[in-house]
Amino acid sequence: MTEPLVVLKDVNKHFGDLHVLRDINLTIGKGEVVVVIGPSGSGKSTLCRTINRLETFESGSITIDGNALPEEGKDLARLRADVGMVFQSFNLFAHKTILDNVTLGPVKVRKASKSAAEKRGMELLERVGVAQQANKFPAQLSGGQQQRVAIARSLAMEPKVMLFDEPTSALDPEMINEVLDVMVGLAREGMTMVVVTHEMGFARKAANRVVFMADGQIVEENEPEGFFTAPRSERAKDFLGKILTH
């Protein structure tokens, strides 16, 4: 493995009585693409949200590029800027134009000049194929376009690692590939990525590793081909049986 970038050690988290993350140990190397897969409710979203501290955790440690996650406050905000996040529901800022969505972070967090941020923003919109829409508002775009803007917005912060939480689950089928294509491109260029998805095509094409989660635990880890063709655990066999029969 390359130099470790994101390291989770014995991470535990509860929601009340629910033990939602159990002794999670996971190391993600620079430039590595890890797909997280598992049944609904197994804690995949919580894992992503814990990595950039949208959720707190009770024990264990998480480091990003060697730095432990600070408590809430300015330091945490700075560290979060290094961790990009793309959500299932896009979450674009509805009152801002597409370009303003992409430049807000660089200007306010990275203190880039407005003109530099706009130049870079247009390049990124070009790259994800929505430059034509730069002056529109999110509600005027299709779901696939909105998600590509969300990816561009994240990229504009020049993050060290990007987290994707089911980025294509809310999309109509014909829009899934336009988003996955952008993600495959990112993976090829060496972006470090953690992707929660059930898109096996993406996992096979772009992932270095598949992590299978169930009931808050990492049950199995393997390279994609091995995981999909020869899962070792009963839970994974059972799960794959359910999603593959269609």
Binding site: A77, D82, G84, M85, N91, F93, H95, G105, M157
Partner: protein, 221 residues
């Protein structure tokens, strides 16, 4: 009737009404926004303070606050806002009390506006490294204001009419003058109608303005 119009400075009285309304509107918008930010902040002490503020001032009659300002604050505690002039002191206290009172309603209107913003946007803002203040300023509040224009409009219209309460501490706004005229002249009904129409002239355009703004500025989702 023409007699009354020439004898009393009705326009001047409505001028003072507008003066009270404008400054109290600014005061209550600023203060109400502050309290709303406290109520949605991650700091529990601030949230509690904000909740107290709203519960106390929303549930205290404005007349009580007015009377308290002059009797309590000025006469007992000696807090005089304009030592050179009794009337000036009363006017300034009226603005303060109108602002404090209506800030509670502004806060609640804004909070309902914040609730129109999907929670995911606040998370996205946090996730990209914006601080709480930056997310409020650039993501939540602009949308909250636009989602709360209708209730904010109602609050400001109520404020214009509530300036009449300042009459109880002797501020010479419209209602105060109306009481004076009715006491001195015959034809109370006509006088009453003049003043009622005066208020309609102030509030009706305000209502129309806010209705059209709430339509034009609505955030498309």
């Amino acid at each position: 009737m023409g007699d009354i119009l020439s004898k009393y400075d009705i326009l001047g009285a409505f001028g003072l009404t507008v003066y009270l309304a404008v400054f109290s509107a600014i005061g209550s918008l600023v203060l109400g926004t502050l309290v709303a930010v406290m109520r949605v902040s991650p700091v529990s002490v601030l949230r509690l303070l904000g909740t107290w503020y709203v519960n106390i001032f929303r549930n205290t009659p404005l007349t009580l606050l007015m009377v308290f300002s002059v009797l309590g604050m000025t006469y007992i505690l000696g807090l005089n806002l304009d030592p050179s002039d009794i009337k000036g002191n009363a006017t300034r206290w009226a603005i303060v009390m109108l602002s404090i009172y209506h800030a509670a309603f502004v806060c609640e209107a804004l909070r309902s506006g914040v609730n129109t913003v999907p929670a995911g946007q606040a998370e996205a803002a946090r996730a990209m490294g914006l601080t709480f203040g930056q997310s409020m300023r650039h993501v939540l509040l602009p949308q909250a204001f636009r989602g709360a224009i209708a209730p904010l409009g109602s609050t400001l219209i109520a404020l214009v009419k509530n300036t009449t309460v300042a009459a109880v501490i002797g501020v010479a706004e419209a209602a105060n003058l109306m009481a004076v005229i009715i006491e001195n002249e015959t034809g109370a009904l006509a006088v009453f109608v003049i003043f009622a129409v005066g208020f309609v002239i102030l509030t009706l355009p305000l209502g129309l303005l806010f209705t059209s703004m709430s339509r034009r500025l609505a955030v498309k989702r």
